[in-house]
Amino acid sequence: MHVLECDELTKTFADGFEAVRGITFEIEEGEAFGLLGPNGAGKTTTMRMLGTLLTPSGGRATVAGHDVVREAPAVRRAIGFAMQEAGLARYATGREHLLMMGRLYGLSRAGARTRADDLLTLFGLEEAADRQVRTYSGGMRRRIDLACGLVHKPRLLFLDEPTTGVDPTSRAALWDELRRLQREGVSLFLTTHYLEEADRLCDRLAIVDRGVIVARGTPDELKAEVGADVVTVGVGEDEAEPAAATLAALGRVRVAGSGRSVALELTDGAAAVAGIVEQLRGAGIVPATITVARPTLDDVFLRYTGATIEEKDQELEPAGRR
């Protein structure tokens, strides 16, 4: 069953800016699904419409079976939402946030207290629990915000750029926590403009550019679509030409590395390595090194949008538009 479905969702802001121009996708129960795209692509706008924070201009969407416009309260009960800005009350402590959210999501006083303790332990925030969040580091803010989104044990967690502005160590820790949540059965819906994050966290993802989805699939499928792995075989001096001739039958081949290596383009480089070694042996050549380079999501992104994601981020979309 799909925990989220949206069909031809659009959003045109009052000033005429078309932030989202017809987006369709669905999220399976238990899946981690990501919208990958540069700033201003419409990811956050899409997420805010699905999270009942913005009214769509067109299209329809359901979350946990409830229409996001007509049944907004039911949608709100089904989801947790960790925002990009980690929206916290600066002068409240971490524990107070959790107690407050617990009560707002309908837990009893005692229930909220137990749940707060559990979440503080889960996210390693026991020590900081009674400090005001304005003293927290960026990573701690994200963790308490995430914990707030989980007080009511939602089926689906919305994560808007979950690790933007978080240092690399905390980022890795957050990824671990998110994967653990997913193992416990929470579906994840995230936006990101970090390729690595999309690659490591998402079961499936959609690349969004200028308000539309330009590609979708598992990270591996997307990379496979871009094409070949590059297998580079290091050989001795004078061996490159004969090696290239030997391997020509396998795929596109060229001499590289100033005559000391051969580069071979293959759809599945890793699987071909054994065959390559065997063929070269047959020709009396012993490869010194073999490396397989897989295409990255950056290659995928480049192919579908005509620019790398960094270049895209430089194109100044109206800043802070959500």
Binding site: F13, M83, G87, A92, M101
Partner: protein, 255 residues
């Protein structure tokens, strides 16, 4: 009832912030306190004017200073809302399955409480300066209640500005625009000594109704006519500002 629990939770959150950010209580009360201490001294001789109804200027002017306290402090709800919108906390509340009214109600309750505390500071200072409360301790509580009720209604103004501009500076400045209602009122001079046009103006000046009620409690008796007038004024202001705030809120919510 869910609404009571929800607004109660948000009210508690704001209450806890009061001692953590004492400036929110202290700053708005600085102006009223200066008026109470200095302006009453500057104007101490007005008591000799024929027709001046009190023996000391402090006794007479405390009611006016209390109304200023309400005008100066009632921006809190709007300011808090702008701040919550800024930090994203507002979105966190909006994405929770709670009544939208609870968000506003929590802020208004907070303003009411804060204004009661600020008014208490002003009244205690007035007592220290030699004023007395004719209606005693109950009258003091009555004045605090008036400040809370009138202030909650007045907060609707700042909420509107906050939701429509989302700008903390503008929200803070908007409160000052209501000050002419104070300066034109009977805060400094009794009704009989005001020029005719101001006497006429004050028939429509909600702030003056608050002052009349406070002044009755301060210097004479439980004047239900005056108290009723202040409550009616608060009701009318609330009836204007709250629906507008609700509309602005809806618009802010739907984007």
């Amino acid at each position: 009832m869910r609404l009571a629990v929800e607004s109660g939770v948000l009210f508690q959150r704001a209450l806890r912030e009061i001692p953590r950010v004492p400036t929110r209580i202290a700053f708005p009360v600085i102006g009223p306190v200066m008026q109470l201490v200095l302006l009453t001294a500057v104007l101490s001789r007005v008591t000799q004017l024929p027709g001046y109804p009190a023996r000391s200027s402090v006794q007479f002017m405390t009611a006016g200073v209390l109304s200023l306290t309400v005008l100066a402090g009632a921006g809190g709800a709007g300011f808090q809302m702008v701040q919550d919108i800024d930090t994203g906390f507002f979105d966190k509340l909006r994405v929770a399955p709670i009544s939208r009214a609870a968000i506003v109600l929590g802020l208004l309750l907070t303003d009411a409480t804060r204004l009661a505390v600020q008014s208490l500071i002003v009244i205690l200072l007035a007592l220290l300066l030699g004023a007395h409360i004719a209606t005693g301790i109950l009258g003091l509580l009555g004045m605090l209640a008036l400040a809370a009720i009138f202030g909650a209604a007045w907060s609707g103004i700042s909420l509107n500005v906050a939701l429509r501009t989302r700008n903390p500076e503008v929200t803070a400045a908007a409160g000052i625009l209501t000050f002419p209602l104070y300066f034109g009122s009977t805060a400094f001079m009794p009704h009989a000594l005001l020029p005719t046009w101001l006497q006429w103006f004050n028939a429509f000046n909600p702030v003056n109704y608050l002052i009349s009620a406070d002044r009755a409690l301060m210097s004479s008796r439980w004047d239900w006519h005056a108290i009723g007038g202040a409550l009616l004024a608060a009701l009318i202001i609330g009836a204007i500002t709250m629906p507008l705030a609700t509309r602005a809120f809806r618009r802010a919510v739907s984007g």
